[in-house]
Amino acid sequence: MEQYLSVKNINKFFGNFQALNNVSFDVKEGEFVCILGPSGCGKTTLLRVIAGLESQSEGFINQNNKDISLLPPDQRDFGIVFQSYALFPNLSVKNNISFGLKTRKQNKGTIDKRVDELLKLVGLSDHINKFSAQLSGGEQQRVALARALAPSPGLLLLDEPLSALDAKVRQHLRLEIKNLQRQLGVTTIMVTHDQEEALTMADRIILMNNGIIEQEGSPQDLYSKPKTAFSANFIGTTNLFKAKKISENSLEINGSTLECSENINEDLFTVTIRPEDIKICESDNEKNILQGTIKELEFLGSNIRGHIEVDFKSQKANVICNFASEYILKNNIQNNSTVNISLQPHALKIVKT
């Protein structure tokens, strides 16, 4: 498919501080991309550079086969929803949404029809004459979305659109925005610091840290094939170990030698293993078996998270594992129970430090 937006080698400096460091990525037409990263990593800055609200120090942006790097915002083709929504408080819902429709001398009937259409789309038809002070947070959010979509922009930019809402509304709106986006097929870039949000909504995630792109890929890829320790740690929960190479397929953690399916290239490196990939073993058939003591059990519903102090050869270390609740209850595993766990060779992933 055609690349709709290409961001190439963007650098952005605020004085001496570098907020964006050689950022490059592409977005396909109709794709939903999430820019994910901890607060202060440069997500908003990147979004504003794409919108032209902030000018990049270096680099290029192409949209729809056109170089827009130097264009001011009003000559670019995008709609934006800010974290604060920025609804005009003195204008009704209707006038907020029609604000961007009145340039091309469209007649009143066309505009009214378009407003109705958008209100139906976001499910707010009953609120057409209200002011923003009379709407709930979720409703305001949807008005902002409708306003941004009104002129049918080629690109939709969302800056933490759900962060000001409470948990229930947020979960509901996640699905709604995602459906809306799919329905309209509008290319969308959303900024968020919430990994769950990114995992559930995005076609592709661009993970940022300290102004650089750490990794990009589908949610599944990022989760199961993290390339760096930061990726592994930021998305989901994981265990990280410093490891030493013994041979092509075996490594040493805290003095214990373990088998690994991946080919090892470096002498010193980091490995990661997800909590759900760690198994309690009842027989000796498994590989990479270690003994440990349960220190704490956290009940998470269908799962129980165990904090286990594992006896490696040279020292003890804490490991997090997920178990099915049923299994724990049936086997009467409690604090201070001793268990054997297996760090399966295929689950041990080598990542960049």
Binding site: G52, L70, P72, F78, A86, Q134, P151
Partner: protein, 555 residues
Amino acid sequence: MKKSKDDYLTIFFISIIGIYIFIALAFPMYAILSKSVENQDGIFIGFENYQSYFSNPALVYSIYNSLFVSIITMVITITLAFIFAYALTKSRMAAKGMFRSIAMIPILVPSLLSGISLIYLFGKQGIFRELLMGYEIYGPIGIIIAEVFYTFPHALLIIITALSIGDARLYEAAKVLRSKSVRTFFTVTLPSAKYGVISAAFVVFTLVITDFGIPKVIGGQFNVLAVDVYKQVIGQQNFEMGAVVSVVLIFPALLAFVVDRIVQRKQVAILTSRSVVHEPIKNKKFDTIMFIYCSIISVFILTIIGMCLYASLVTFWPYNLTLSLTNYQFDLMDGGGWDSYYNSIRMACYTAFFGTIIVFAGAYFVEKSRSVKTGRSILHLLSMMPMAIPGLVLGLAYIFFFNHPDNPLNFIYGTMAILVICTITHFYTVSHLTALTSLKQIDNEFEHVSSSLKQPFYKTFFKVTVPISLPAIFEIGIYFFVNAMTTVSAVVFLYSSKTNLASVAVLNMDDAGDIAPAAAMGMMIFYTNAAVRIIYVLITKKVLVKFQKWRIKTA
């Protein structure tokens, strides 16, 4: 980044406002500075004028006198205003609204009216002259009493703001810790109000040292800097020496301005922490004492204004005490007659109208435009400068600049236009700050949203920014109007026989010995300003509410 149409428009408007401020402020100030180093034939003579100024003991003594009355007034006003503000914010006494309104009265009259009132109260034929026990009201005593009256509301407003931002949570903490109220005062109240008090002190100091109406009316032989400027120019036609005294007068005003700016910045830092409003608790003894105190101050204010009202209505003081409107027949005396009153109204309307437009537009570009960073900073800096320039100095600077034969703008000299421009400039800074404060509360993303929707910035400005800012816009308009009605200092050098003003008429009639008509004209200014303020309150209560439905939470 390439410039958009919006950017070009922004640059265009910023340039226009910038050029306006340069013509109305920067060039005249340059003219007065250069005049102070020239001789009467316009030839550069270095600091010779300054040497002759400082070798004249009579003139130099004025510096000492000016500092003396300014500092004493500052101490008295701040003390009185602090207690008054404390009563209004921290007590549960009755009639707070009434006390507050009374305390604002002095803002509505020309400063020199309080001087005239004191003459009626304590002058040679005054009602209470025995109270002075042989001392003269003409001189420092009269100046200081009148200046306290004049500066009281200015100090009060600043200190009330400072006291109201004291965080309620601190008071609660102090109570939980069983802190004695005296200790709470010194550990919680005073520190949080500190910057407000300092700022108020400098404002009072500047107002007094630059005021010339009061010392002119009641100063007697006691010379101060501001009156010296006036005398040098109007009395002796010695413009160069007038320029020198002006420059001397700028220094303390400039110093006060700089200190005030530094202090204000610290105050803002306190404000940004999310404070909770403190609701005082009932304390019968304390509330009663505060009520008595505020009553005394109110009686003082009402006496001064009441005396003027009475004097303006008495047929011939002190021989014929029957009440009549004889003194209001201004057309029978010198000073411009009723025309000067109508001129004042016209001038105040123009100033309010054009001043509000210029100031609000200027503040909008400073605060909201995306482009032209340097231009915006320069504009802001220029907008802050008028505060540091005494009105008298500004007026004199206008003579030098606009009356220069080579100046193409020479034609506005002696017209209404120069009075309006001068008055707008004189009161620019406070209005600019009011507008900025209001604009800062509006989400900065509005401009970004509208450019993403391909709408020009002026559409957002007229459809969103202006409607949201209406209360502040009205506030600025009223401020300009009231001050244009009362100001004497800036316009006293600039009016012509066709553009005589009411406030100047007060000065001139008093000078000519027509004190009762002067009081009457002063009262006309008071009635007008009071009426405008009352109408304003009614408008904000009734009309604005109608247009601001969107502020209300439930539909």
